[in-house]
Chain length 305, copies 5
């Protein structure tokens, strides 16, 4: 039931995965140029001592494909882990709100305050991961009583977590929740902490740079030399086949690089804006707090941010 | 002990995996057509400057197979995760009912009500994931007392979870369950939340579109060019071998696309209807609530929905 | 320290992995036949327009090997998960018995009753997974007081779990275990539930049928065509090499199909009988309940069931 | 910071991985012999109808490499899981001792007794996994009061776990630990149970025998036929290349077989002796129980047992 | 949002991944030398009986690439696990501090003391993993009251964990935290234990030495023989292609060896210094303990330690 963009598939061929295509279109043109050079220069190859055959390029090409397969897998695993961490945040937030709402004797504004803290947590996490300014969103979402502790603090995200812990402690002080109930809720706060820590880890520790660089280099060198190896067999077909093979390797290498950093704003990154709004819709609906904010809409290129 | 469809294997060859075969039969015909064109046009290839040999196609074919292997793995992992989430829901529901049934002093209709809420949860989740209307099932399953809070609400699934939490809180108010026992039951409600959140995550976040598209394109282009590369060696055998190779790549690519979205109603999707009924049978049997609903039956093509 | 069968390795070559060899021996003979046909017909190939070379078969063979590698991995993961679930059942049963045995004031027959319930749970799970009749084992193992609730019930396994929960609740009623201690024990009952649910999931959801079928077909077609491609190069060596290559592909494909369904009684399936008896030995030894039942013995072919 | 053996790398080439090299050296010699036979017999090949080329051997070789890669992965995963289970035992033992040491009012000899039980647990597990006699170690480590319950019992490992549970129950009886504190400690005992159960599972369930055997056979047959395929191209170079390729396949296949059973005493198995002593050092140091036992030393071949 | 080094990409080509390039530059030169020898000696090859073709090298090259792919995966998994363990330490430390800060009636210096213990734990773990001297950092970080128990002790890391447990027990004695609250905090101490145990496991158990050595040897032998196989086809192009292929294999093999041991101080190892300081910044900020220590800065080569 995944909602695919409604526009015609054909029209999107040259538009959709913007960043990947944009980032490799220059390299593909270069590859085309090399093919033409190879074609034109072919008659002089023997004189120049240039003997390149497909056999060694099969060996290195398949080897690079194997390494690239594993590396793509590693990048994709980062993307999936990032999404799962945000999913776990959704789960913990819904569970915690469910627990809060079954407490007897709470005033409605106390519940609203708590929802405000939860929302501020996810928005501040989004800003932290994208290195953007959280101030406006925090002012909008944070209940007045909790603003002084958070606004202007260098690490608002963990500060908001402390506020939620304090909110729970106050209810415990008021005798509304027992130690046992507090324990169950505190366990869900641990999950907030796990999500924050996990996202920090992914954002702060890329795939070892040497790993990316070795494959980046070998893919580029492979694509550059390829036309010279193909030209003896393929003559005029060289540009077509060479660009085709290069497209496969370059686009997958480029996508791997993009997925490696899932918290950016490129088309294949996680739509953190949409996730934050979806979370707000869920929590407000659980509190019958209508109207819900409108779902985040994809842009003209059908990309969510 | 997996129950395979009883019909003769041979008869099902052209019937069973409907969607996959249907979705590639057009492409396979196109491939056949290209083979015939390659066969007929072969005498003029040299004149036209068309020189395609198998060597570069081996290189690109094996590379695509490697990438496709990893991508299929990723799609299959989504299918397995979706099934595991529903399995976890079964586990949590049975555990929670076991806990409820060992509470002293509950009236039978209270237990039935709770079972009703549990069943409504799974049916509403099914409708949510398939974007179908939950109204009829909810009216059938929900106990009367809980209908007002759920029917007509934009997010019935999490609303039912709140109802279950409220049911527990009421029993706690009545003194039937202590805080400790409540904690153990609430822990199982967290698992409901995890299942809901996990399914939402899978349904809402496809494999990055660029990943699918790059492989989709390269597989198609590969199959289109293949006959022209094979014809020099294979002559009249070209159509046979070309369609064989294309079938392998196209069908696996197509299956990967199908498994990627496990909550649909195609033959290789999860049989959510059957899972919901199986759950109902389990819970009712635990409550000696006979007769059980009949197990969901596969359709004429041996597919469960 | 894995106990390998003591018989001479050479003698077992044609005996041991019965099912796999039996299931492919017909296909291997067919492949041999095709090789002979290819050999005999070779002189007429040119006339008949049959031109098959190894190059495209290398491409498709390696591609199939890649897909088969991933698919075998998926089957093996199912086998491992099934074994781990049964291992987790052992762990939960030993943990729960440890907790029960450290309760003060229990009468010895109460402990024996509880062990009887635990054993009945694993045997009834075995029968459920193999679709065999649990009646005799249940009558043998279940304590008299608990038989009415289980015997004749359509789902004895979850019924026994309810009995264990009831046993715990009775001890809580008697004041022998506090809510906290009950909570720790109940947590282990959740693990029983998880094991039951996990096994149900594996038994009820095969690898998507299309996945198996696509590879099944391509492997068979590949092996059928292979001799015709090899004969030009290998002449009299064709049968040897063709059967060798076919053996590798067909036996691994066949094993994957066998491992996919780990709860059967074929040689490479899980030895559920042996696991149930091992569990009984463990629990009885913990209760100093000698003599222990004899360990399950492998059959004449060194296979455990 | 992994401590590699200090001896010169070159000297260890023929010594270090004893078991692997020893187990394949006979097969490598056989391969060398086949190469020589192929070399000598080559002039008569045509007459004998022997036509073997590298192309089909590339196909089968790469296919076997793929299957072997997955199978090695599975063996390695068993090794890692075994090590992780022992690591988890370390973790649980340290956590449990930390909890015990923060109990008020314990007598020092009670703590020493408990440490004795913990150490006896790991040593008895080691003996269980290696099928060696635990008697001497148990007499050395077990506190006198607990010896009657364990010595001579057919399953000392789970018996010791019962003793630890009894120790906790006695402290609970004495009023030194509350039910809540008992619960936290009992949770760590569950981890002991999980470690014992996990190791039993690995030791008792090898990789399905057919899986090992299929690859074992195909690797051996491949290496045997290889020289006959290489000799036409490589002439005098046949022995070198053939032994090189065979070394790669045979040694990895042999290592996979070794890693599959991580609890043995071969060089690539887990050093259970060293792990037990390391555990003793950790626990005694936490109790300021000096002098600590000396760390286990590698043997003359730099292997730990 | 991963911060890549700002210096120009081109300038860093010969500088950045220091260790990997340095460790293979000698081998690459050797490979270049072999290429030149092969080129010069080529005319005499036939006389010397040297016949090496690319076909068998394709077979062995692709096979090695497959094995290397899996082995790199295993090394990378160790790197990721090490990072995740440190991430989990961050999570547990933040969660525990959150719990401590919501306790009523604590004096500020008690909280500071506890933070000091937490920081000392991570620094002492870092020193333990790198085999460096922890004394100076422990004196700087440990509160005076806890220094006697830790300084001079042979295992300061687990000693600090005992101190934290003792701190919690003292607060329990003072009546500030109930058993339930203690339980929640103690659960987070278990996570400290898990992190310590996990890191010890990774540091103490390398990938089985035979696994590394087999691939190390085969990669080296493959690269050494390669030029002799390529020269017949490539003539003057031999050095270029041979060094290119060797670079791919040698650099990935070398990186795998580096990643295998994630706790060192080479460029692709974990930046434990930076992680410790980041942890300090987080904990101090949660306690409004300004100014925060400055973030750790990369060195002139943009490497963090």
């Amino acid at each position: 039931m995944i909602v695919r963009p409604p526009q015609h598939w054909f029209l999107r061929l040259f538009d959709w995965h913007g960043s990947v295509l944009v980032s490799i279109v220059f390299r593909l043109s270069l590859n085309l140029l090399m093919s033409v050079i190879a074609l034109i220069g072919y008659p002089w190859f023997a004189t120049l001592g240039i003997h390149l055959t497909t056999a060694p390029f099969s060996l290195i090409g398949v080897s690079i494909a194997i390494f690239l397969g594993f590396r793509n897998n590693a990048s994709y695993a980062r993307f999936i882990e990032a999404r799962t961490l945000w999913g776990n945040l959704h789960i913990a937030q819904r569970s915690l709100l469910r627990q809060v709402k079954s407490v007897r004797g709470l005033r409605p504004e106390q519940v609203s305050d708590f929802i405000g803290l939860q929302l501020a947590f996810s928005w501040s996490l989004k800003h932290r991961l994208r290195h953007t300014d959280a101030q406006a969103d925090l002012q909008r979402l944070l209940p007045a009583a909790w603003q002084p502790a958070v606004l202007g603090h260098p690490m608002p995200t963990s500060q908001i977590m402390l506020c939620m812990a304090e909110w729970l402690a106050q209810r415990r002080d008021e005798g509304l929740i027992s130690d046992i109930v507090w324990q169950s809720m505190d366990e869900n706060l641990n999950h907030f902490s796990a999500c924050l820590g996990g996202c920090d880890r992914l954002a702060g520790t890329p795939i070892p740079f040497a790993y990316s660089l070795i494959l980046h280099r070998t893919v580029y060198l492979f694509c550059t030399l390829l036309p010279f190896a193909l030209v003896a067999d393929l003559h005029l077909m060289t540009p077509l086949v060479s660009v085709f093979i290069s497209y496969t390797f370059l686009s997958l290498e480029s996508l791997a690089e993009e997925l490696e950093d899932p918290f950016g704003t490129a088309p294949n990154h996680l739509p953190l804006d949409a996730l934050c709004i979806s979370l707000a819709r869920n929590l407000q609906a659980m509190n019958n707090d209508f109207p819900l904010p409108a779902p985040h809409q994809p842009d003209a290129h059908f990309n969510l941010t």
